[in-house]
């Protein structure tokens, strides 16, 4: 009896320990996670900084000195380039290892390994989109050049140098929460980072929706509602710029395309202004007589931040800026000769092709009047505590058939992907973006900048540039396929070689301008050129709102300083409101309004058109315009079961301002015939009703900063690891295009001159560890619209009060 009692007690103890040691659903294994010797308590960093530390690491050739400033930004000084990229890998892994791991897993379609079957469709999507295939090609291109091979291999060594120094208690907290171990870094992971940016910035497509539009409404209507050049535009390269090169012959439209356009044959809400800004002013407009460059790149905002600040110095380079955790070099930044920044081009570099297979085996497809063999690629997806899933993807000469039939495609997901079509995507091609980064980091003048850009394939960027030679320039740059006009606006027939891409636009013929007479260059994702440019890049770009506002401000500007640029980056003025509000107000009749409507009318009439956090007018206009837009298009474009694309804000503006009696104002579901005035009134009343219902009578609760939700979450959406909702100004379509969790991921201003001085901030901190004092120490500065002066050390010995500690690395 006594033995039984003892054994029961022992058994209970063992079961208890076992239960505490396993992951149950989303709950981490509590024993390993909570115990203070190896669990999360170990991730709590002390506020006492060790002023000097020495480490010996295998593989280093010489000595590396890393000086950390008050934001714990590393300033790396290496004796050679190998050690420089090694050290960058080491310090980045130290601060961002889990972020590097999870991002490359996402791109590689390997989330199921750690999350389980829940992530399977996400993984399949990435595999089937050819993310692995593309990364393999990018890696091949990168390893061909000795300089970029060195970068990638040394960076990888550095990351692994850090990983190998870890014991389980040192693992970043997310590994402990999700219960897995860091694995060795591979060079291909750096290529996955490039693929991920391509997916984010050049991986979207409205081709499928446009094809459905074409089928439903016919070519004439589609031409009218989805024009190839907007009603309002202010292109990146000043309109009227002459193109003094002899363009390549433009390919002829295929017979099928012409037939489509001449014969008969669940809208997603579009929100303008997902996007970035950059501009540079020439010395003639600045107080110092030297150019100033500004850049704010808009992306999804997360903890840890998407960017990692770093200064990198060796005998061949001394550069400061932001890097991607997981990729060597500085992506956007400056040295003591040049500065550069990016906005996205959104070129049409992703096309869908209909494929006709010979039979159900799908071994051959029809192309150029004959049957051609497909290639098959087997993707093995490992799933946590399950058997691996094996997925075979068919490749035509265009690329992968992402979803061969409806059974392969998950319901209500990836609706932009047409079924049965092959994907031609520039991100699949061999390329070497790292060479562009390598050269830009070392660039000294305009020619170096143009040489570097020729290597940059995808995602195409508007590269802005300023130098101490008093040059400013901007180039819409990337691999642009040579196409006939509108090739890829709709799904293409994959059997006709005339529909293939016909080569590339030569790099020296990319849209570019140097030192224009207006004294500034700028971009905000709008059309790169006016219609005189000989090549087709895309039929639609971001609308002109931010672009025009920036140009208006810069045109008027004299004696500009860094602060003038900083204030501009926070500008909330709405060009959309400037365009449409007078007309919308004109259609309202206050004599027919009730009290709430009158109050709202009065506020929006007096509104200064700034989307400030405290503005009530902004909330009223925003909802009013949104309802107006929805009411016009919903009856025709929100059709159950068909994926359609609704016209742009730009086209809607044209409708309001120039076609008040257009048939599109008429609601097909009512017997009445509505016009612009009817819809403006309907939208206004419905806006007031909704606002009163949600926020009470017009008043403080209607303030834009509270109505608009702004927040930054942890990458794994862990509660407590992000910011929660905070009040902030801005909206899509104004310079400060901050909304929800999308906004300026890095704001930078660089004053050129004898000493180049940079200013910058991102929302978060250098450390990805929520147990670090540097996890979000820059957030408040960012939120307040301020910038930190960036510490640029000209030499390793330069003294600065801002340096708080030094880490010395040396080889074995």
């Amino acid at each position: 009896m006594k033995f039984i009692k003892a054994f029961i007690s022992i058994a209970i103890t063992i079961v208890l320990i076992w239960l505490l040691g396993i992951k149950i659903g989303p709950v981490p294994p509590l024993g390993p996670f909570l115990n203070p010797s190896t669990g999360f308590w170990q991730n709590a960093e002390s506020k006492h900084i060790v002023a000097a530390e020495n480490l010996v690491l295998p593989g280093l050739l010489g000595k590396v000195i890393i000086r950390y400033d008050e934001h714990r930004i590393p300033h790396i000084f290496a004796e050679n380039d190998h050690d420089l990229y090694y050290a960058q890998g080491y310090v980045t892994a130290h601060d961002r290892l889990w972020e590097m791991d999870i991002q490359t897993r996402e791109a590689a379609g390997r989330l199921s390994e750690i999350i389980g079957p829940k992530a399977l469709e996400t993984d399949r999507y990435h595999r089937r989109m050819g993310m692995v295939y593309g990364a393999e090609n990018t890696l091949r291109g990168t390893l061909k050049d000795p300089a970029t091979k060195m970068m990638l291999m040394a960076y990888t060594e550095g990351v692994n140098g850090y990983i190998h120094s870890l014991t389980p208690k040192d693992y970043p907290i997310e590994f402990k929460l999700l219960d897995y171990k860091p694995e060795d870094w591979q060079p291909i992971n750096c290529a996955y980072l490039v693929m991920l940016m391509s997916e984010t910035l050049a991986g979207g497509s409205d081709q499928f929706a446009m094809t459905n539009d074409l089928k439903r409404f016919g070519a004439k209507t589609v031409d009218d509602l989805f024009p190839d050049y907007p009603f309002f535009e202010d292109p990146i390269i000043p309109a009227g710029t002459k193109w003094n090169f002899k363009p390549l012959p433009i390919p002829k439209p295929s017979a099928g395309f012409l037939a489509q356009m001449t014969a008969r044959i669940k809208t997603k809400e579009i929100e303008p202004g997902v996007g970035s800004n950059n501009w540079a002013i020439s010395g003639s407009k600045s107080a110092t007589g030297y150019p100033i460059l500004a850049n704010d790149m808009h992306l999804n905002l997360t903890f840890p931040a998407i960017w990692y600040q770093v200064q990198m110095s060796s005998p061949t380079v001394n550069v400061y800026g932001v890097s991607f955790p997981g990729a060597p070099g500085v992506v956007v930044g400056y040295n003591q000769h040049i500065s550069w920044g990016d906005t996205n081009v959104d070129a049409d570099v992703l096309d869908w092709y209909q494929v006709k297979f010979k039979d159900k085996s799908k071994n051959e497809y029809w192309y150029n009047n004959q049957w051609v063999k497909v290639k098959k690629r087997v993707e093995v997806i490992n799933v946590r505590s399950r058997k691996p899933v094996i997925d075979t993807v068919i490749y035509t000469h265009h690329g992968p058939v992402v979803y061969g039939d409806a059974s392969e495609k998950p319901a209500e997901k990836y609706e932009t992907v047409p079924i049965g079509d092959a994907l031609r995507w520039v991100a699949h091609d061999e390329s070497n973006e790292f060479m562009a980064i390598y050269l830009l980091n070392r660039g000294k003048n305009y020619n170096d900048y143009r040489e570097a850009l020729a290597y940059f394939g995808v995602p195409a960027q508007n590269f802005i540039f300023a130098s101490n030679d008093n040059d400013i320039a901007i180039t819409s740059n990337g691999k642009f396929p040579l196409k006939f006009k509108d090739q890829g606006k709709f799904v293409l027939d994959g059997s006709d070689p005339a529909n293939d891409w016909h080569g590339w636009v030569p790099a020296d013929q990319h849209p570019t301008v140097k030192n224009p007479s207006q004294g500034f260059v700028r971009s905000a994702n709008e059309s790169p050129t006016d219609t005189a440019y000989p090549y087709y890049i895309n039929w639609r770009f971001e609308q002109y709102y931010r672009s025009k506002r920036i140009a208006d401000k810069l045109t008027a500007m004299k004696n500009a300083t860094v602060d003038s640029m900083r204030i501009m980056q926070m500008d909330n003025y709405s060009i959309l409101a400037q365009d449409v509000l007078p007309t919308m107000l004109k259609y309202l009749d206050p004599s027919k309004m009730d009290n709430d409507q009158l109050k709202a009318f009065d506020i929006v009439k007096k509104w200064d058109k700034h989307y400030a956090a405290k503005s009530i007018g902004a909330s009223i206009f925003n909802k009013w315009w949104g309802k107006f837009y929805d009411t016009i298009w919903r009856d025709n474009f929100d059709v159950k079961g068909i994926f359609l694309k609704a016209p742009s804000f730009d086209r809607t503006e044209k409708l309001l301002l120039t076609e008040p009696n257009s048939k599109w104002f008429d609601n097909v579901h009512t017997p009445l015939k509505e016009n612009a005035a009817d819809i403006v009134n309907l939208a206004f009343n419905s806006m007031v009703d909704e606002m009163v219902r949600k926020y009470g009578k017009p008043g403080e609760k209607w303030q834009w900063g509270d109505v608009k939700q702004t927040f930054i979450n942890h990458l794994a959406n862990l509660p407590g690891f992000g910011t929660g909702d905070f009040s902030a100004g801005g909206v899509g379509g104004v310079i400060n295009a901050l909304r929800n969790n999308n906004g300026p991921s890095w704001r930078m201003v660089v004053q050129m001159g004898p000493t180049v001085t940079g200013y910058g901030v991102f929302p978060g901190g250098e450390s990805g560890n929520p147990g670090s004092f540097y996890y979000r120490d820059m957030f408040q500065t960012w939120k307040d619209g301020k910038l930190n002066e960036l510490l640029f050390l000209k030499s390793v010995g330069e003294s600065s009060e801002r340096i708080k500690s030094t880490l010395t690395l040396s080889g074995k």
């Binding site: 006594k2 033995f3 009692k5 003892a6 007690s9 022992i10 209970i12 103890t13 208890l16 320990i17 505490l20 040691g21 509590l30 024993g31 390993p32 909570l34 115990n35 203070p36 010797s37 190896t38 669990g39 999360f40 308590w41 170990q42 991730n43 709590a44 960093e45 002390s46 506020k47 006492h48 907290i173 929460l177 862990l718 509660p719 407590g720 690891f721 929520p770 147990g771 004092f773 996890y775």
Partner: protein
């Protein structure tokens, strides 16, 4: 006495052995010097409760408890870091207590 022995053994071993070794330490100590099962459980519980509290605080105090204040929000308990400390210590205590109880019961079984 038992309490002190478990406290010292688990404190020292926690730096190089897995987290569940506290149960083994408590078990062995109670097996050799434990008196009644009830008292052994209390000694094991109290010793590990205190060891884990002290070890956690050694990391958390120089951290101004910023990490614990974030992590506690993942748990369905009041969002104050001290509650997370209490949960941590209680789990450790339970494991230690059960180890000690098992040791004492086994000892009793062998004694005649």
């Amino acid at each position: 006495m038992l309490f002190l022995i478990i406290l010292i053994l688990s404190f020292v071993s926690s730096y190089f052995l897995p987290w569940w070794v506290v149960a083994v330490m408590a078990f062995l100590a109670a097996f050799f010097i434990g008196k009644t099962p009830g008292k052994s459980f209390l000694s094991g519980f109290a010793a590990i409760f205190i060891v884990w509290t002290v070890l956690a605080l050694l990391k958390s105090i120089p951290n101004d408890n910023i990490l614990a204040s974030r992590v506690v929000q993942l748990f369905p308990i009041p969002h104050r870091w001290i509650f997370l400390l209490a949960v941590t210590a209680a789990i450790g205590g339970l494991v230690g207590g059960m180890g000690a109880l098992s040791g004492a019961l086994l000892k009793k079984a062998f004694a005649k």
